[in-house]
Amino acid sequence: MKKRVASPIVLLGSRLLSPYIMLFGLYVIFHGHYSPGGGFQGGTLLAASLLLIRISSGRRISRIQFSDYLTTPLAVIGVLIYFGTGLTALLAGGYFLDYGQLPIPGLDAPDLRYWGILIIELGIGLTVMAVLVSIFDDMIRGED
């Protein structure tokens, strides 16, 4: 790349698109219970919105939006959300990942499962987003 900043039109266009893609990604995650969708699909869309900015604006600006030091912790947190949900169920006396045993008062087993699935989908979405961004970042930097 010769110039540090690419064409302003591209930058503007992607800045315009990015929030909508992100919003759609969140929709896909949360609406996964009722229509095709879920954590992976939504997480990919979230990553796409971040990567769009990264591609169009270069490293310096995109870091302001989403620092590349955040990716690994976020990915770990995503895994930990899933893992922690399973472990909670295990500690509450059920099998690992048995959402029916989650210690949330006032809900019966099917509803607990409903919420359990939602929680893990969030975790997945977070991990997928963070990992895809981190792969992109690593590849851009090359091997140093």
Partner: protein
Amino acid sequence: MKNFIQFFLIICFTGLLLFAAMDLPYRGEAGNQMNRETSITGTEVPGNYYVQEAYNDAHTNNMVTVVLGDYRSVDTLGEQIVIFTAGMICFLLLRKHEEEEE
């Protein structure tokens, strides 16, 4: 010569798959094993169970989500680990910390 062996390999592979087609059930027929009510040995067929019980078990309309998130949640955890592994691998292969503290 080398190419010949490789083409031969491809042809063999294709032949094997064609051989499998002889007894493979037709696409989309209701009588296929995985679409039947009970299996050969009388156990539950998972595909049917998912369709019938998914909503009762998790109050979720999307059966794929229930299978993914609940019935086969270990697969999904594994899948998340796969993607996490890919991230860690790119981190490992491509990035390096400058200073090594002790």
